[in-house]
Symmetry: C2
């Protein structure tokens, strides 16, 4: 993918139709329940229906893309876990032993693991989508994490993953990630696009102590000073302070929106990718479903910049797509309620005030 | 069941073992994830493991009991829906068209509908558990809703339902209810047991307007004045201002605790039943999992009296067990994470700081 192709793609994203939202609401109000009594599930169902262009949305096939990449900024001591954990966890995903595997099975979703930039040679490893662009980003606190065209290439991988999902008949996508050091990249994106002070944009990630937290804020501060990412150019921010797996998720969000596929966003890191995608194509927001508010302290600020509320608040902070998996089953529940419930007249039930 | 038998049963409820909680925590900390990163799901998994007395909890069979009953207080104009809706919705449950049917299918749970006090003759209707005690309670704002022995009888039905679930090999129970007028009864229980002013204890239920809300507060105020329920005697409160389906849920909570079966609580009304059960047998709380904070405005005050946090906040206010069904799938997810995830050593993953 070239940058021109990416711009063209972003330009084709269209919001969902207002009349489709109204038609879904009209059906919701005929179902055997007090109006509005399904709460947040009703707005989810309504938007999902509009995304699918029907008042009877159906979710048959679900897929979770878990994207992995390493981060040069780990040399600044920003993570509680060593860098080798990224490839080790990728292998754990492939063997089915990680939290995301358990939750994917629980919610009936397929999981597809993609290497976009892990610092490990996975040659010959089965069951992994091999889309490595480089063995990890450069240290964003000293230089751009990726070249601009590398970032575009990673976005292109994501666009392709969304296309493949559509071709495979997937009705609902979810994303997640694995990458030691990637909360620092996500914090840098938040600081750059949200105009936040680095202290406000960082959190404890997988569990750094106070010193680690200071090192993260420091790394983000230097990243902004050295790279001067331009908040009016989301691709500039992405390539300078992002990561390969983050860029891949940006591509999935854009590609899904183009193909009118709903996508469930995971936690802090995938939300930073969602913010980049929405800055590239504002209407992409209509296709995003925010699964949860994570325990990462800056996540709330990040979600404030996306104009949607998360479905869950469970103090999770694991990534991988674990929050998205749970969000996905709630989105599916909402769709089924709209499609499968009886109406007052079908059921012979008196409606309000009747 | 007699009152003496009920007291004896309540006296046999034991808290979960502290060492079982510790053993579950020890396993949680060996799993391939940063310690604590599954957030609230970890405390759910830990307690569920302790309830089952294992570090590898298993949820194979799930059942939702939806209990129905009518309320004499409807003659005070406290509900937005007419009283006939209770039997109409019971029939909707049996035909599979209600929200709870859709959600039960979605989460893979069986649903069992029980008539404890609906003002309708269901003779010959299949698929319904016939346990009617009377065709609706008396008007609690004028006289006791139930005789003391009627309430005991309804609790006994619930105890029996929990016993049957255990015998049927159910691993996880959930409860819900249907009964036009029952938010008023639940509010009266909350006001009586929590020492709240009636205004603080009522909400809009299925959607009453401001006048309806005043009538509800008024009905609760008169209920307390006329009946003088004794907060130190939960059975006194239950029979004077409760309802048949509420008493049935009290019995399920107690019976489940005795049989060490975890139970997921639904919204405002089932939480009022949980409060009564916990006042009868404080250790019963260990077996309860609160599914959601509902949109009913007094629910937060009610949950404050139960020493647990709800899993979901989705502005739902439908009852039937709809919140409990979603809570149930989260509890099951937590159990599966604890049982199915690989440990650091099994997966060959470096742990924190390694």
């Amino acid at each position: 993918m070239t940058e021109t192709e990416l711009s063209r793609l972003a330009g084709t994203v269209r919001p969902v139709a207002a009349d489709a939202l109204e038609a879904a609401q009209a059906r919701l109000d005929k179902l055997t329940k007090p109006p509005g009594s399904l709460g947040r599930l009703e707005s989810v169902a309504r938007r999902l229906a509009a995304v699918q262009g029907t008042t009877r949305p159906a979710i048959r096939k679900k897929r979770i893309y878990t994207l992995a990449g390493d981060h040069g900024v780990t040399e600044e001591g920003v993570s509680a876990f060593p860098r080798e954990v990224t490839p080790q966890m990728v292998l754990n995903f492939l063997r089915g032993g990680a939290a995301i595997n358990v939750l994917a099975r629980h919610v009936g979703a397929e999981i597809v693991v993609v290497d976009l930039g892990v610092d490990h040679d996975f040659q010959g490893v089965d069951g992994l989508v091999h889309a490595k662009i480089r063995r990890g980003t450069r240290n964003l606190s000293r230089e751009p994490a990726m070249a601009r065209d590398e970032a575009v290439q990673a976005v292109g991988v994501g666009v392709d993953l969304a296309r493949r999902a559509a071709e495979d008949g997937i009705d609902l996508l979810a994303v997640g990630e694995m990458g030691i050091g990637n909360t620092t990249a996500a914090s840098a994106i938040l600081a750059a696009l949200g105009g936040l002070d680095p202290e406000q944009a960082v959190g404890r990630g997988t569990g750094v102590d106070d010193d680690g937290l200071r090192r993260k804020a420091d790394a983000v501060r230097r990243a902004l000073a050295v790279n001067r990412p331009d908040p009016s150019d989301p691709l500039d921010v992405l390539h300078k302070v992002g990561g390969f797996e983050i860029a891949g998720m940006v591509g999935i969000f854009l590609g899904a929106a183009v193909r009118r596929l709903p996508v469930v966003v995971d936690g802090f890191i995938s939300s930073s990718a969602a913010l980049v995608a929405v800055r590239m194509a504002p209407a992409a927001e209509d296709y995003l479903f925010l699964s949860h508010l994570s325990h990462e302290r800056a996540h709330a600020r990040l979600l404030d910049l996306l104009d949607r509320d998360p479905l869950l608040v469970l103090e999770m902070r694991l990534g991988e797509g674990t929050g998205a998996a749970l969000g996905l089953t709630l989105v599916e529940a909402a769709a089924r309620l709209l499609s499968e419930m009886a109406t007052f007249s079908e059921a012979g039930v008196a409606s309000k005030g009747a």
